[in-house]
Structures are given as C-alpha cells and as structure tokens.
Symmetry: C2
Subunit: 254 residues, 2 copies
C-alpha cells in the first residue's frame, strides 16, 4: 500500500493547474491531503469524486482555511473526522480512515506563534493527538500518521537551523514534543532509514525562489507505531512534484 501525504495549499488551485495528486502519482493507493482550503460543495466533481477513488473531506468552519482529506482506491471500513476532542476538532485538521486494523490518519498540525494563543493551541493539539494515538494503539490498531506536522524536528530537518531557533515550526517546545512522541512508540520512518541525509525537505517558502536553492524544511512526515514498523517497505520524499509550496512524502507498507 503506497500512501502519500501532501499539503496541497488549496486543492482548487492544484486542480486549476492540472496537478491533482492522482494525476501526478498514479501508483498511489491512498492520499492524505492537508490545506485543502475548501468545503466539499465548492469542489468540482472531478475533485470531490474522482473516478476510481473514494474521497473524504473534513473542512474548517471558516471558509478557505485549513481542511484535510483522505482519498483511497479501496473503500475504508470507517472514516471519522477529528480527534473526538471538541476544541481541537473545529478546524478540519484530522481525518482518519480505517482499513481493517490499520488506521490511516491525515493530520494538519496548527502553525504556532512564538507566544500567544496559537502557540498554546498547537501544543494542546500535539498532546491531544498523541493521547488519541496511544488509545488507538492500545485498542489494537496499527497507526500510520501522515501529515503536515508543522515541526522540523532536528537541525538536519531544515536548511537554516540557527536562524530559525526562535521561529514557529522549530521552537524548543515543538521539537521536544516531537522527541517525546518519537520516544513513545512512534517512528519517523524516513529519518530512521536515512539518519544522516541532508537536504531532504518537504516545504519551501514561495518567497525569494528558495525552492530552487533547496532552502527548505522537513515538516511533513509519515510516522508509524512500533508494531507497524516491520510492514514498512519504503519511505520517500518527492520534491519534484509541483503545485504547492509543500511536496508529497510517502510511506509504502507491505
């Protein structure tokens, strides 16, 4: 099962450009999308109901903001929006699809601020998500968490770590949540397989043409619980896929 995570930065814009994920990545089995920025009613049928795929969207109340999707060839046994935590479920940031005892999750972590309410919200989201995942694993499910975590974990995960020590996405609290998360039975499969690989990024600012120079951040991940690790065949980043300021990342399960 090839599973891709892609922050599309507006799925309507991606469609307009003819760069829909299933057109660019035809060998995929599942797409976990983030920042779809649309309600289902706003989408053309080719986007909301692509032929040969089952598509599920979860949107923010607020129009044009946030939003995630899971689009799979196989019909999931169950699809559920949110974490089941009211205050964390208002922004279309989590969607999960169960295939047997495998839970595939598309998550769009909030972007934090150096301080203030969005900083607190992001940490609440991180903690709430981890509790949720632990429960699912304890209940016997395997978990594949695909998404835009909006966190670069270690200095190797961004081109300019020193300049960004005080910037959202690389704040100490975000990084240490990630460390604890990865010590609590979840695995950043791309990094475990490529421990010293420099320049592997999934996001580049649109400004100053830095994508050409590969001045980017790795903030999109696929992580799995320990029991699932043995089924991971492959983990990859696809920097040449165009259409967004993020590129897709993938995990293949046997």
């Amino acid at each position: 099962m090839r599973c891709y995570s892609w922050n599309v930065n507006g799925i309507r814009a991606v469609a307009r450009k003819g760069l829909l994920p299933w057109k660019q990545l035809p060998r995929a089995d599942v797409f976990c999308l983030q920042e779809t920025k649309a309600h289902v009613e706003q989408l053309d049928p080719e986007v909301s109901e692509p032929k040969g795929w089952h598509a599920y969207y979860s949107s923010s109340q607020r129009k044009g903001y946030s939003g995630v999707a899971i689009i799979s060839r196989k019909e999931p046994d169950e699809v559920i929006e949110g974490l089941g935590v009211r205050k964390l479920d208002q922004e279309g940031r989590v969607l999960r699809a169960r295939f047997g005892d495998l839970l595939v999750i598309s998550a769009y972590f909030p972007k934090s601020q150096p301080e203030g309410p969005r900083f607190d919200y992001k940490l609440d989201f991180c903690r709430g998500l981890r509790r949720f995942l632990k429960k699912q694993v304890d209940a016997g499910l395997d978990v594949l968490l695909m998404g835009d975590y909006n966190i670069a974990h270690e200095p190797i995960d961004l081109a300019r770590p020193k300049q960004n020590l005080k910037n959202p996405g690389f704040l100490p609290e975000e990084r240490s949540w990630m460390t604890r998360f990865l010590k609590s039975g979840f695995h950043d499969v791309f990094r475990e397989r490529n421990p010293d690989l420099d320049g592997a990024y999934s996001w580049w600012s649109y400004r100053f043409g830095v994508r050409e120079k590969n001045i980017g951040w790795r903030i999109d991940y696929g992580t799995v619980n320990t029991a699932l690790l043995g089924r991971v065949a492959d983990a990859a980043i696809h920097p040449n896929i165009a259409g967004s300021d993020h590129c897709p990342v993938s995990v293949r399960l046997k």
Copy 2:
C-alpha cells in the same frame, strides 16, 4: 484632439494583460480613465509615467476602489482634483485638466442603489457636478465631460429597458437628472449624431457572456457645452477594445 473615455476596471489588470489604452489606441491625444483602482505608488512606471504622455491620477482614500485619471500628450495648463465640494471629493471621482480655455474632465459617477445612502449620494454628485460645470461655462471655459455616468438615459441606451426600470443606472431619478442636464446647455454628442442607433453600448456585464450577444448599456458618455458643439468633429464608441467590462468612447474636437 481625439479624446477617449474608458472605465478600465483596474488599470493594473489592464497593464497585466498588455492592454493599456495608449498601446491599443495610439492615435489618441487624451485619455480620461475611470476605475483605475490604484494609488499612484502602486503603479509601475510604465503606467504612472508612460513615455510621451503626461499622466495625472486622482484616487479614493479607500484602496482598490474607484479612482480616475487623465493622460494626455500635451501638458495641461492646470490639473485639479475634485469638484471643490468636500463630501463629493473623497472617492477619486473627478479630475479636470485645462488646456487654454478648454476644460477636459474625467468623471466616475457613483453607482446608485434603488434606495438608501448611495442613491442620495449619487444624486448629490450629479447635482454638484452640474453646478460645477455651469460655473465653469459661466466663467468662459469650454467643457468636455468624459466619463462613466453610470446612467443609461433613454430606453435606446440599453438592451433590456423594461427589465431594468427599477435597477440602478436606469432609475427614474437618474434618467431625469440626465434629461435636465442635457436641457441645460450640455450635449450628448454621440446620441445627437446617432439619434436612432440601436445596440450602441459601452458596458456589458461580465456574467453570462452577454458581451458576445451585445446585451449591454450605454453609460459612458462624452458631453460638451453648447459653445463647444461646433468644434466636435466626431463621436464614437469602440466596442472591440478589450480589457475591461466597459469599452472606450471618444469625442474628436477640431
């Protein structure tokens, strides 16, 4: 002197499309533009200071809203913004350029509402403008008033008069102001020369592709005071000039 009036619906958009007036209408001597929708600082130099032209802009306080311009080959002897009536001069709707004793005015009349404050404002503007023009003529100036009047005067001036009897732009009060204006020493030179010409419009809604079907309105005019009438060589409409939902209209003076 060939003088064109064109509501450009955003001069930056027109520039982006490579459809600037002086590129499309090289034989012009003066352009009176409306709905420039920009402050001068927002314009590229090729728009704010086109080579071979003298350009003057008057903008609304509010960004991206309204705004008029006069762009002429010859340098005017004097250029003044507004009517000199505080409350009518806040929206960048009037700019005048004097060439000797000829006053060329670029005017963007407000769009009215069936009732409410914008209806009153439009009628105030109409009345204020007429008083102003009378003063100029009384002072010995000739006047060429080019602009988007946002009024279709008679049924012949729009494709669907019956459907629009209660719609802004064809309201009784607007039409009767126009009638009185044209009885008070001003002349709609295009209509006087083409009294029965149907289908001569200067604006078409962007919606439903009605421009192809020529379902439009004539709301852009060049009018002159009686003394100037003898110098009018020609009055025309240019429906094939693209770039806006309005087309240019022109008056040529001997």
